[in-house]
């Protein structure tokens, strides 16, 4: 198996009480899932973890051993509830140390007197970590072995991710084919199961929708081999016609 054929796996940890209380709607998982998928990195699991040290340590240690890459968002600001960074030091069993490069960045960013102890926490990272650039608000993220620690604010997280992207180890890109139809998913379920059996290397998903007063189903095939994807999509169109309906290319908007 060559490097490009290997499946690269990832987990995403969304850290923050505000997601679990419902105050904030998370949008970071969706962004990361799409971006990583395009790089050939498959997100296999995601967790929303509260701002509790032992929970963060347990989730990071579980995921970093099980998946190739781990991405965390949230909890790297200056306040008492921002405990992601020291928790990750604890997960790796290393010291949590002030990073001179990060201190220099913050010192340039904050005016005289503004760089207090609380803000200096944002320049403190697990020993051995490499900084991740934050072009929006300066305070950096960091990577520690296979764990990438990003901000929780979506605009900042995205900017950090964009800078990080070129150095992520990608896999074979996962692409998809989507065919929709105004048939209930129960009507085609059995034929769909047989199609899935014919293409075990692909993932056949079925998603019901309701548009223009009618129920229908979007069928999505995902995989890495373009020829198989095309054959499976042809199979989808055929099974829709066999059930007396017309296949519609893509999603119904």
């Amino acid at each position: 198996m060559t490097a490009a054929e290997k499946t690269v796996t990832a987990a995403v940890l969304i850290i923050g009480n505000e997601i679990l209380s419902g105050r904030t709607q998370d949008v970071n998982l969706n962004f990361l899932a799409r971006e990583l998928g395009a790089l050939g990195i498959r997100v296999r699991e995601a967790r929303v973890v509260p701002d509790v040290e032992e929970e963060i340590v347990a989730a990071v240690n579980h995921c970093r051993r099980r998946y190739d890459l781990v991405f965390t968002t949230g909890g790297i600001g200056p306040t008492h509830d921002d405990i992601t960074s020291p928790s990750i030091a604890k997960a790796f069993g290393v010291e949590w140390v002030r990073n001179p490069e990060a201190v220099a960045l913050l010192a340039r960013h904050y005016e005289n007197g503004m760089l207090n102890e609380a803000r200096l926490r944002m320049a403190t990272v697990p020993k051995g970590a490499r900084l991740i650039d934050n072009p929006v608000s300066t305070a950096p993220g960091f990577e520690m072995e296979n764990v990438y620690v990003l901000a929780g604010v979506p605009s900042i997280m995205r900017a950090m991710f964009d800078g990080l992207k070129p150095r992520l180890p990608g896999g074979k890109a996962v692409t998809s084919r989507t065919v929709s139809t105004y048939l209930g998913e129960g009507t085609i379920a059995e034929a769909l199961g047989r199609l899935q059996d014919r293409f075990p290397a692909l993932e056949v998903g079925s998603y019901p929708f309701f548009r223009r007063g009618k129920f229908g189903t979007s069928l999505v095939i995902r995989g890495t081999d373009a020829a198989s994807l095309d054959r499976a999509a042809e199979g989808l169109r055929a099974l829709i016609r066999e059930h007396g309906a017309e296949p519609i290319e893509g999603d119904v908007e």
Copy 2:
């Protein structure tokens, strides 16, 4: 401790490859977190789990032992990738059996010949489960001990939850006070940490925002005791004034 004083905890499991691939933005966790919070049930953890039996079994068994209640969304339709229901039977070590009440519901809903084997899977539940009404599209959810199994389509999930609500064991309601200010969170971080120390039973959260060209911070205190919440909110206003700014009640829109 009386029943009303007990903290009732919950976990939410979002089941579905489409969330992990980024095809679909989850909105069910946010809905459940808010609704459960209002009932005094605190969501302590959430996971996004793929449509893989062993992953669902592991997540359900971990969470049902650790939290008072577990809510799952997704994977209860008629297609081959809808495996939540048999996976939950497996997690509990019980048979997956056809439920006569559910069959009767589906038989009334589907016209002649439409109730095929695939749709009858939606009438098959873990032995001992109690049905949860689905006023939108008939196929029911179910509860098995402390695990509540809901649809993934948000409108259906919400309708199921509304029907279920009166029989959920609530705790002491968690309420909050929000005070905002145009101060960076780093400026008040230290004073905020001291306020958190003064009110260990409350949860003090700090959320930066950017509005009208200015950075600011929303401070949210959550807890169950109204008098403590009021005192802590007064403390927040005082610490904002001490830093030369004006407290703004609520969030800045």
